[in-house]
Symmetry: C2
Subunit: 427 residues, 2 copies
Amino acid sequence: MDPRADSPDDAGTLPHVLVLGGGFGGLWATRALAAAPVRITLVDRTNHHLFQPLLYQVATAGLSAPDVAAPLRHILRKQANATVRLDEVRAIDPHARRVALAQGQLHYDYLVVATGSTHAYFGHDEWAGFAPGLKTLDDALAIRTRVLSAFEAAEREDDPLQRAAWLNFVVIGGGPTGVELAGTLAEIARHTLPREFRRAEVRDARIHLVEAGPRVLAAMPEDLSEKTRQQLQRLGVQVHTGDAVTAIDAEGITLAGRRLASRTVLWAAGVAASPLGSQLGAPTDRAGRVLVAPDLSLPGHPEVLVIGDLASVTQDGKPVPGVAPAAKQMGAHAAAVIRDRLRGVAGEPFRYRDYGNLATIGRMAAVVHFGRLKLSGLLAWWFWLVAHLFFLIGFRNRIIVLTNWAWSYWTYQRHARIIVGRPPPDE
Amino acid sequence: MDPRADSPDDAGTLPHVLVLGGGFGGLWATRALAAAPVRITLVDRTNHHLFQPLLYQVATAGLSAPDVAAPLRHILRKQANATVRLDEVRAIDPHARRVALAQGQLHYDYLVVATGSTHAYFGHDEWAGFAPGLKTLDDALAIRTRVLSAFEAAEREDDPLQRAAWLNFVVIGGGPTGVELAGTLAEIARHTLPREFRRAEVRDARIHLVEAGPRVLAAMPEDLSEKTRQQLQRLGVQVHTGDAVTAIDAEGITLAGRRLASRTVLWAAGVAASPLGSQLGAPTDRAGRVLVAPDLSLPGHPEVLVIGDLASVTQDGKPVPGVAPAAKQMGAHAAAVIRDRLRGVAGEPFRYRDYGNLATIGRMAAVVHFGRLKLSGLLAWWFWLVAHLFFLIGFRNRIIVLTNWAWSYWTYQRHARIIVGRPPPDE
C-alpha cells in the first residue's frame, strides 16, 4: 500500500469533510461543523490562520508576525472532530472525490474549497519581482524588509538623484490595502524615522498612491472617497487617480506616459482567484472565481462547496465583495448545507448580509460606512480599532495588539522595525 | 571622485571613530563615546541590536523577533555624534586605516572591531546544513520553522519509524544555549503541543542533549552542573555527556559509534571568531580570536581596539569568557582608551569584573552562580528572569516580554508558533 494514501487511522464510518484553506472561509466552515456527525480534515500550506485585515501593519513594522496570526491547531485544539494537516494542494479530482497533496492524497465525502485569492498583475507577471503584493505573512515580511532597506540605502547614498529614488515610494491600487499602506508609509516617513537618520532627509520622502479608477476606496460612497483623499493628502500622500501604470521596473514606474523614479513599488491593485478554481471544471469569471450555484455548491457536484474569495456570487445584481465578513458567512453557510445534506435535505441559497465597510487611512484617521452611518476622521478610527480588536482571534493577541497600538500612538514608534532575511540587492 | 568613497558630508575636523558591529561590545563602545569630541560611524550588517541571551526564545516560539531586538538607529537616535550605517564589512586595512564595505569604504582615525563570533563545526563544515546554529534572528527563525515543521511532518507521517525520527530532537552542545534549547523543546513536547495533535504522539518526542565534555554548563561549579542535569532529566531530556558526535546527516547523528535517528539536529557546540579577526595581521588563538594587548588594542596599532567575542583576553590565567557582560565591559573600556588617546594619555589595561553566571533550563528552573551565591530551581529562575528583563534594551520590550512570559506561564502556550518562510524539504 502506498504509505501516502489515506492511512488506516484516517478511515472511519463518519463522512469525511475535507476543507482546503484555513482563512476566514475554511476556518469558519470547520468551526460551524463542530457538532456535526462528520470527521473534518483542514488542509493549509501554512500552519496559521491569518488575520488579513491587519497584515499591512506587519508590512509596515507596527506589529510582529505572531500578533496577527494564530496556529490553526491551537484554534481547533478543542474541536475533537477536526484534524489539521500542513500540506499543499496539488490537484482536485471532483469525479473521484480525491485531492492530491504535496505529501499524499485524501478522499472526501464533502469538499469545501476555500483557497482564496492571490495577486494578479493583469497579464504583466514580470512586474511581480518589482512590485510585491501583500497576501501572506511572508509577503508582509518581504515588504517590511524592502521598505526599511530603502531608507537605509538612502542614508548610504551620496548621489542626490539616487537618494530621491530611494525615498520615493509608490503604492499601486487605491483599495483598502493600498490606502492603508500609503497612509502608514507617510506616517513612518513624517514621524517615526526622521530623528534617527543623519544624512537622508527622510521627511522629504514622497509617497505616491496610484489608482487607475476615478477614486480611491471605490466600494465606499463618493463623499467618503473624497474624505479619504483629503486625509491622505493631509498625511503627505500624493494621490493619483484615473491614470494607469503602463510599466514597472527596478528603477520606477511609467504613469500616464511619464516616468516616476522609485526603488520601492508595492502592489495592492489586483487579485485573482486561487488557480485551484479552474480545476473544478465549472465556469469561472474574469478573475478566475468559480460561478457557484445559489447554495454555494459546484454546479453538478452538490458535495463540493466553493466559498470565500474563490466563489463568484451575485446578489441583487451586485457581486458579493471579497472581504472577510463575506468569507465567514459563506463558511458558516457551507457548513449548514453539509448538515442539511447529511439529513437528506437540499441546501438553502446563500444570502450575504452586508454589515458595512470600513478602512483606516493612517494615524487616527479612517472612514466607516455602516448602513446609513457614515463616519470619517478620529471617530471612524476608534470605530475601526474596536471592530478589528473585537474580531481578532485569541485573547492574548488582542491584548498585545492593543498594547502595541497604544505604544505606537504615544511614541510614534513602530517596534517591529527589524529587518530579517536578506534585503533585496541594492543595485 | 568615487561616489562610494567617504562623501563630503562625512568629512569633518573631529576624529572619526569607526565601530564595526552593533552587538554588546560595539554598541556599548559607541554609547560610552557620546560625550567625546569624535564623530562615530557604527556599521552593522543588520539594522538591529540583538539581545542574544533571549534568542533561544525566538527559536522556540516563545517570543517574536522584534521582542528581542531594537533598531540600532532607534537606540542611538539622541546621540548626535553617532551615525548608523547598514552595510557589510569586506576587508580591513590597518595600514591605510581604511575599511572596505559592500557599499563603499570608510577611513578612520580609531577603529573598534566588535564583529563577534559565528558557529564553528570543528572542521566539519558539511554539518552546517543538517545542524543549524543560533547566532542571528534569521538563525532563530530558521530553527523555529524547522522545529515546528518536524511536528507537522510527524503528524502527516504514516510509517512509525519515520514518525519517531521526526519526533527525535538532538541538541549538540551542553553550554547555556544548548541547555536552554533542550529544556524548552521538552516543555513544548510535553505541555504545549500534545492536545493539538491528533495522530502523532507528541508526548513521545525525545529530546537528546549531547555534550562531548564530562558535564553540562562547564563554566559553572560542579554541583550546579549536576543540578542542571537532574532538572533537565526531570523535564524529559536525555543528557549524553562524555561522547562526541562523529557524523551528522539528514537522517540523524552518530554518537559513540551508534546511530541516533533524528530529523532535527541543532548546533550549540562551538563558536569561532568572526573571520575579520584574521585580517588584522595579529596572532590569533585556536578559535580565531585576536590576541590583543592588555588595553585591548591591536599589537602595533594603538588606534585599533578589538573587543567582545573577537578578542582573546587572559586574566589570572583564565580566558575571559565570551559572554554579554564581558563584551559590554570591553566596549566601555575601548571607549575609555580612545578618550585617553585623544588626550595624549596611554590606555589603562582592561580588567574583567566577573559578576557571576546564570542559565535557565526550562519552565521555572535555572541555575545561578554569583560570587558565593549558588541557586537552582524556582528561585534561580526568578533571579534569571529579573536579570534578563533588567538588561533588555527598551522599556516597551520589557513590558511585552514580561506579558508574553506571564501568558506562557499560565497557559503553557507559546504564541509565536508561526512558520514563516519555506520549511526545509521533507524528504
